[in-house]
């Protein structure tokens, strides 16, 4: 199997996804390679960046995408906010990645045990109110949880909610004018994924 290095050549969206999943396999085996790159790599990147994928993920300390996908400097354009929520500012970063960096692959990466999703579920089913700006974050998540069944056991409910939240962020990206345009051009692929926190395995949503 070819091991890809980061910034060799522009790749297709499918190539980019293969690279990420190969990297996740190395992470799981405990054989990381590119995330071990030293600062020397940086010297070659001073003129600019050419990442091959953009990831919208969560701020949770257990899901740093560069480690989970075993990538190096210059490989991934990363947006991380609690609950991988989409807002106009997040859309701005995504649009920058689409129009300026032209990364072929976009991924929304949720994760098991997401505290923001859990807090949103508590707000939805128990009426818990958070203070200050945290509440605004939850309000970004709530519309995506409409179909999560209150009757489900807690763990299953969380699993569904995490997936629903990834799909909700994907939908907001797809329905934006820029998202529609890029997809229509056929250059961009948007995929959803969930990271299993205990194992580090990334599961693609179908």
């Amino acid at each position: 199997m070819t091991v890809h290095s980061g910034n060799d050549a522009p790749v297709s969206a499918d190539d980019a996804l293969d690279r990420l999943m190969e990297g996740n396999a190395r992470f799981l085996r405990g054989e990381p390679r590119f995330s071990r790159e030293a600062k020397e790599v940086l010297a070659g990147l001073t003129k600019g960046q050419r990442p091959y994928a953009t990831i919208l993920g969560c701020s949770d300390s257990r899901v740093p995408p560069e480690l989970i996908f075993d990538v190096g400097f210059g490989d991934l354009f990363i947006i991380r906010v609690a609950g991988n929520v989409v807002s106009p500012e997040v859309m701005g970063s995504l649009q920058y990645a689409g129009t300026h960096l032209k990364t072929p692959l976009f991924m929304v990466l949720g994760h098991e045990g997401c505290g923001a999703v859990q807090a949103a579920l508590a707000a939805k089913f128990k009426g818990t109110q958070e203070r200050s700006r945290i509440q605004l974050l939850l309000e970004n998540i709530l519309p995506g949880l409409d179909e999560v069944d209150m009757q489900l056991p807690t763990q299953q409910q969380m699993e569904r909610a995490v997936e629903a939240n990834v799909r909700w962020s994907m939908r907001q990206i797809l329905e934006s004018p820029e998202g529609r345009m890029r997809l229509a051009e056929g250059h961009m692929k948007l995929t959803g994924a969930v990271c299993e926190i205990a194992t580090g395995r990334v599961r693609l949503l179908t």
């Binding site: 071990r36 600062k39 300390s61 609690a82 505290g115």
Partner: protein, 245 residues
């Protein structure tokens, strides 16, 4: 003899440091210790002596039940701004917020509040970086009246005041030199925006439970330069704005 004693002392210190790293910083790490951990990690990165701590299966199992990061970092989306690598940290160590241009709009402020209030993180770092594309765009917008269009204007909006201030304070500068000033001002602007929006963060800082500092990362060398607290922090803490008011 003295030299030997010194060497011995260094060895003892090093092994203590190694032990601390092996176990992970864990919960309840104070701001000073957290800052030291970040400085040590960046020194390892810059000198090419990274230890890549806490990235194995055992660490994933250990943190599966919950996270206890020792610092929150607000950085940029730039692919060269790999926060965990710059500070040579692992899984579960850093609560990391990244949006292009390290701004502090509502989602970022909410996420930072979550880190400080729910996770009990005592150190928050706003980390800018040299040659930041978002700052370059904001400076171009101020200097040349360029409009980016679409959602990119949302991205640039929080950075515009910093770009305008840099232009005002350094009228003789242009290009990279002006961007460099704007990068630092943008770090201060983000800290200002955090405090202006968040009674929670202001309260925690006043109680001595949270320290907020700025830093700028040189993408060519990997060196993180520490800026300390906002020069006008007392004024920022006196803000009365935010959703709880």
């Amino acid at each position: 003899m003295n030299k030997r004693l010194t060497m011995f002392g260094v060895l003892v210190l090093l092994s203590c440091a190694a032990l601390a790293h092996a176990s992970g910083a864990g919960p309840g790490v104070g701001a000073d210790e957290a800052l030291s951990l970040l400085k040590e990690g960046n020194a390892r990165f810059v000198s090419g002596q990274m230890i890549h701590p806490r990235q194995d299966a055992a660490r994933r199992e250990q943190t599966a039940a919950g996270q206890n990061p020792f610092a929150t970092v607000i950085g940029c989306s730039d692919s060269r701004d790999v926060v965990e690598q710059l500070f040579d940290q692992g899984v579960g160590d850093l609560f990391t917020i990244r949006v292009a241009g390290n701004p502090a709009h509502a989602d970022v402020a909410g996420t930072a509040e979550y880190g400080a209030e729910h996770l009990g993180v005592h150190l928050l770092v706003v980390l800018g970086h040299a040659k930041c594309g978002a700052v370059v765009a904001a400076v171009a917008s101020v200097a040349e009246g360029k409009k980016a269009g679409g959602n990119i204007d949302f991205l640039i909006a929080p950075i515009l005041p910093a770009a305008a201030k840099a232009k005002h304070d350094f009228p003789e500068l242009s290009g990279d030199a002006l961007v460099e000033k704007a990068v630092t001002y943008n770090v201060w602007q983000s800290i200002d925006d955090l405090f202006r929006q968040s009674p929670i963060l202001r309260g925690l800082v006043k109680e001595g439970k949270l320290t907020v500092v700025g830093a700028v990362y040189d993408i060519a060398t990997g060196q993180v330069n520490w800026l300390g607290a906002h020069p006008e922090q007392a004024r920022l803490l006196a803000y009365a704005s935010g959703p709880d008011h």
